[in-house]
């Protein structure tokens, strides 16, 4: 068990007359999905130990509306967006970090037109920044020394927002061997979850998208697949299981990798 930490909730913080520097937008996956909760916890621990003054919305956070919008339900999307913007503006939020590229894209690119203007960054960008500032120190010996790590580009970070370098820069710190899959960066293959696919069965076809993507993972001979999206994480974890490789290949979020490798004591 890890050392207990404090996670400030916005309403309580404001009631105490305090204000966070940054809001941690957790997202539905990060809040409810058991696998993604581990990513959320790892990132919260990093925020805590780097002395970042953050808060979460807790019960006041609701779905950004991304899957509704991409499915075609603009009405529901805007209902969600307007509600969330009201909450965020009420707390005078100026800066948001999130572990979910879908929330990231929606908050950053789609809320401004509806009256929500914030500086929005993805957690891999914040991690890169914390590392550059020397606020994250890694344990002696290198937790991932000798491992082969490959990074899976999330569509909503990569092609949708041109974020290709930050996650890779963070991984470079791990003293592991970084390998690229044959399809990466602008050519990275989707995990199959985006566009609200996560919430329905695939249309009829030859194979599931996540299984196709996992074949790229197997070809790379990596021991660790670094993901930066909770949905990619689920999809790739399922894909690895489908190929019966769950004992050899671990799918981990970049926040989890850093939390494991970093010296988070004190």
């Amino acid at each position: 068990m890890s050392e207990p930490i404090q996670v400030p909730v916005m309403a309580e913080l404001i009631a105490r007359g305090e204000k966070p520097d940054i809001l941690f937008w957790v997202g539905c996956a990060g809040s409810f999905d058991q696998r993604a909760q581990r990513i959320t916890k790892a990132f919260a621990r990093i925020l805590h130990h780097t002395g970042t003054k953050f808060a979460v919305l807790g019960m006041e956070e609701t779905c950004t509306g991304d899957p509704a919008r991409r499915a075609g339900n603009e009405f529901l999307f805007q209902m969600q967006a307007l509600t969330n913007i009201q909450t965020l503006n009420m707390y005078e939020v100026t800066k948001i970090v999130t572990t979910c590229p879908h929330c990231f894209n929606t908050l950053k690119n789609e809320y401004p037109e509806l009256g929500g203007n914030y500086e929005v960054i993805h957690h891999t960008q914040l991690l890169q920044q914390l590392i550059n500032e020397g606020r994250i120190k890694l344990k002696e010996g290198g937790t991932f020394k000798g491992k082969r790590i490959t990074y899976h580009d999330s569509c909503y970070l990569g092609r949708a927002n041109q974020i290709y370098e930050a996650p890779r820069k963070v991984l470079e710190l791990l003293d592991a061997e970084l390998v690229e899959m044959k399809r990466c960066r602008t050519k990275g293959l989707c995990c199959g979850a985006g566009g609200a696919q996560m919430f329905k069965e695939d249309e009829p076809g030859r194979i599931h998208v996540n299984m196709e993507r996992t074949e790229d993972v197997l070809q790379s001979n990596a021991n660790v697949v670094a993901a930066a999206c909770p949905f990619c994480n689920t999809m790739l974890t399922d894909g690895v299981k489908y190929h019966d490789k769950q004992d050899e290949i671990h799918v981990l979020d970049i926040a989890e990798l850093i939390a494991q490798a970093a010296d988070l004591e004190g």
């Binding site: 050392e3 805007q78 249309e203």
Partner: protein, 436 residues
């Protein structure tokens, strides 16, 4: 006399060609304007830069070197040959022969030699293109949506290219032989032995044959172009100029009318003051007229290369969706709508639509919105916009949604989360992490 007949013939063919080209160009312009307004004029400097890099400089083509180099040969040969075309037009209209030669001298020899060398390269590239399509059968050239006309269209253009080059070389070589190589053209001088021993009359005939073959192929090409996928040689330029400035982008277009509806719902008093919504305005797109004019320009700019479809995760895993087919369907339907307009006037409806009659909901629902198709397109076409607008119509106007999506919508609406879980469960992980 023979010269005058040729001159008249030339002017007649030029006139007929101009008439057909102008008529079809007007029709295409009219069709594109059937789309919804979409202001894409801001930041002209950046747009110009995009056009120069993507259309003129073919930046995205160079992600794949072999086809990029082959395509470059044909493209540069095409551009440079326009110089020669100017002379052909002058010669044809005024009954002259190599009008520029006396004025330019050595420079003339250099320019024509340059065109000849590029023509050889274009010839090699064209043969390679024909082989890739018909012998090597590259996957993206043999998909279902290319069966029939699209495949024939592609081959016709390539064969036309070869005829054009044959025209140029028979003309130049015969002319060179007639003048004992005095012009000094770089490639045709090596072809002169082919015509050795021919009489002057025969050589003159071959020269005229080559000249006419060349110019008639060019005119035929111009008339054919607007019906062909090959229209991209023109429309790639405006299409990359008017493209999204950040492309690809994860941002979807906003629907201000929905915001207005929500505001009216939350604040009914405002209902009286609000301007009435335009009648028959649809949410999302059912037919081509519901799409932005840029999506319609996209459709006319598509050369059906299939880079989008080859990169599409849905298509690669055997789903029905093909972004290229989305573009081809949009163009086919738009042409059909245009024909209906011409034949029956504005009020006619044929009872068909892009959605369902051309593109099925199964295709649309296979899209993961990953933007790979947008990323790949060398001429800045955005198939994803069309997919998302059609999806909007399915949900907002037809309530046509898979059960699982309905459940997800319900969860979001009632518990604020994509899964059916109460808001207080958002605190579970916090309690766990705080307890260590």
């Amino acid at each position: 006399m023979a010269i005058m007949i040729q001159q008249l013939l030339f002017l007649a063919v030029l006139g007929i060609t101009s008439f057909f080209v102008a008529r079809k160009a007007r029709e295409i312009y009219r069709n594109i304007r059937l789309g919804k307004p979409d202001d894409r004029t801001h930041e002209p400097g950046k747009r110009l830069q995009n056009m120069l890099l993507l259309a003129f400089g073919q930046k995205k083509m160079f992600q794949n070197l072999t086809p990029a180099l082959l395509h470059l040969c044909v493209y540069v040969a095409f551009i440079i040959t326009q110089i020669e075309l100017i002379e052909i037009l002058v010669d044809g209209a005024f009954g002259l022969h190599r009008f520029f030669y006396p004025y330019l001298g050595g420079l003339y020899t250099f320019i024509i030699s340059f065109i000849e060398i590029l023509s050889v390269l274009a010839f090699v590239a064209t043969i390679a293109f024909l082989s890739r399509r018909n012998l090597l059968k590259l996957p993206r050239f043999t998909m279902k949506e290319l069966a029939g006309w699209p495949m024939l269209d592609a081959n016709l253009i390539l064969i036309g290219e070869i005829i054009l080059i044959i025209g140029i070389f028979s003309m130049n070589t015969a002319d060179m032989t007639l003048h004992n190589g005095a012009y000094g053209f770089a490639v045709s001088r090596w072809l002169m032995p082919l015509f050795a021993g021919f009489s002057d009359a025969t050589l003159h005939l071959i020269e005229r044959f080559g000249w006419w073959l060349h110019i008639l192929t060019v005119f035929g090409f111009l008339v054919y172009l607007p019906y062909s996928k090959h229209l991209h040689i023109m429309l790639a330029f405006p299409n990359s100029y008017f493209a999204d400035l950040t492309s690809p982008s994860g941002k979807m277009t906003n629907m201000p009318r929905i915001t207005q509806e929500i505001n009216l719902m939350l604040n009914p008093q405002a209902a009286a003051d609000a301007p009435p919504a335009a009648e028959n305005e649809r949410f999302g797109a059912k037919d081509v007229q519901d799409l932005s004019w840029k999506s319609l320009l996209d459709a006319y700019s598509c050369t059906e290369c299939g880079r989008c479809t080859a990169a599409c995760p849905a298509n690669q895993t055997g789903k029905k969706l093909s972004p290229r087919k989305i573009m081809m369907d949009t163009r086919d339907r738009l042409e059909e709508v245009g024909r209906n307009l011409d034949a029956h006037g504005n009020d006619y409806t044929d009872g068909k639509s892009l959605l369902h009659d051309y593109i099925s909901s199964e295709e649309l629902r296979a899209c993961t919105t990953c933007n790979a198709c947008v990323q790949e397109c060398p001429v800045s076409i955005n198939p994803l916009n069309i997919i998302l607008e059609l999806r909007r119509f399915l949900i907002l106007e037809e309530a046509n949604s898979p059960d699982e999506w309905n459940k997800m919508f319900n969860n979001v609406e009632h518990s604020g989360a994509v899964w059916q879980l109460p808001a207080d469960k958002r605190l579970t992980w916090i309690q766990e992490v705080e307890n260590g």
